[in-house]
């Protein structure tokens, strides 16, 4: 629809405040998922204090950022987690938080069910224990399902089950769907990026070309599945999947990390995409509105090597983070380009160039879940 295209073009120029703000509260995590986009594990001593975190919520109110996506690390391990939830709620800032579910108890599930303006997203990466635990660690599947049961028993209502689509679980989409139905939950599928610890595991985990085609067909057949607008690179296969269908990095999307650093998107925790820090004068609003990086990202982009491809308008060249961390030029094809151009570009690299994330909060040794 032309009306949508013009709106998309306007979004590319950036908005006065983000639509989709992700805020990671801590790098601490009791799991050690092998694809963790933020290489989380250990808390960073520079993490924002409770007062600083509340100041960010105040800024959201001032900027009319109506809701925030909270993640981590595992956000529930922050001792002030519920205090921050209460504060956001009292300021009428909607919260959706992502959790591995290990810290949800029968008791706090009732409390969470009583908070009006809250979405919860429980992550699993396999529809069965073996597939999930291979990525997220032993015991994590059972813990996530236990959390879902607690939420159901507390009459929380419709929570979300969030799945990163991998080569190993791409054949389980119907099973995920059935699991969501069983809990009256919504299914959310998102794209695996070679970010964080995913830099090292992407080769083994990312879906095959055939799986991508099947996934596209499945998403078209299940339009009520949430995708976080993350699969727009698949749009070269046919009619667009519902969503904004553009890279929103620095335009409508950004990340505030646990130490207050602002990145263009949650998948590019790297110095090249660091726009500033909320602790600097002017706070988050100043970073969003004036950072040089974000100004650049809002300039019209060139299709580069994709200019001659008839599908560029559909896929927009794909995901910036996926290109960056596989060493591909940002104005060329996505490594998972459905027409195969990315694979060819990866093969043509004289040396496999893989960029490393700037920070790594991984624990030296994977932690056993039962030890918490």
């Amino acid at each position: 629809m032309p009306a949508d295209l013009s709106l998309r073009d306007r979004f590319k120029l950036g908005l006065d405040a983000p639509i989709c703000l992700t805020w990671e509260l801590t790098y601490a995590c009791n799991l050690a998922c092998i694809h963790c986009l933020s290489s989380s594990g250990r808390r960073d001593p520079r993490e924002l204090s409770t007062a600083e975190a509340k100041r960010i919520i105040d800024e959201m109110v001032e900027m009319q950022i109506f809701y925030v996506n909270i993640g981590g690390g595992e956000p529930m391990v922050r001792t002030d987690f519920f205090e921050l939830l209460d504060y956001a709620s009292s300021q009428n800032v909607g919260v959706k938080f992502s959790t591995n579910g290990t810290r949800i108890t029968a008791e706090n599930a009732k409390y969470l069910a009583g908070l009006g303006y809250l979405d919860i997203q429980i992550s699993i990466d396999g529809a069965d224990r073996a597939t999930n635990d291979a990525v997220r660690g032993e015991g994590s599947f059972d813990a996530a399902l236990q959390a879902m049961e607690y939420l159901q028993d507390a009459n929380f209502g419709e929570f979300k089950i969030s799945v990163v689509v991998t080569r190993q679980n791409a054949g389980q989409l119907d099973d995920f769907r059935a699991l969501a139905d069983r809990f009256g939950a919504q299914l959310r599928l998102t794209r695996l990026r070679p970010s964080g610890r995913g830099v090292d595991t992407w080769d083994q985990l990312h879906p095959t070309a055939q799986q991508q085609r099947d996934l596209y067909g499945w998403l078209v057949g299940h339009p009520d599945t949430l995708t976080g607008d993350s699969f727009f690179h698949l749009n070269a296969l046919g009619d667009p999947i519902d969503g904004l269908n553009l890279c929103g990095a620095g335009r409508v999307v950004c990340l505030i990390d646990p130490i207050g650093d602002v990145y263009a998107c949650p998948f590019v925790i790297h110095d090249e995409f660091l726009a500033g820090n909320v602790r600097a004068p002017g706070g988050f609003a100043n970073v969003w509105r004036t950072s040089e990086l974000f100004q650049e990202l809002r300039e019209p982009t060139s299709a580069g090597a994709c200019a001659s491809c008839g599908s560029y308008d559909a896929c927009q060249g794909g995901c910036m983070a996926a290109k960056f961390f596989t060493g591909l030029p940002l104005d060329g094809p996505d490594p998972e380009c459905v027409l195969g151009h990315g694979e060819a570009a990866l093969k043509a690299q004289p040396v496999q160039l893989v960029r490393r994330p700037s920070g790594d909060h991984s624990k030296p040794i994977p932690v056993v879940l039962a030890a918490r």
Partner: protein
Amino acid sequence: MSLSSAAEAPSFDLARGWTLSPEVALRPEKFGALAYHYGNRRLVFLKSPELVALVEALGSFDSVSEALQANLAPERHASYAQALARLADSEVLVAR
């Protein structure tokens, strides 16, 4: 994109008075505004500053027709009435 995909609400009566829902906040943007509904948590895009002005003024008129006459040239009434109907459909507007 709610604005372009929602069908025209059949119940939208131009002779009635409508107003911005008290549950909706408008955030001004260069292209127009974002409308956020705290009740149904839907985000809707108002794609022109003229539409934003019309929505903001709507509550002070006894009918949509009067608001259209006061704010826009006659040739634009039909398309803006349609846009308002869609906003009513997404509960951004409520009948007075």
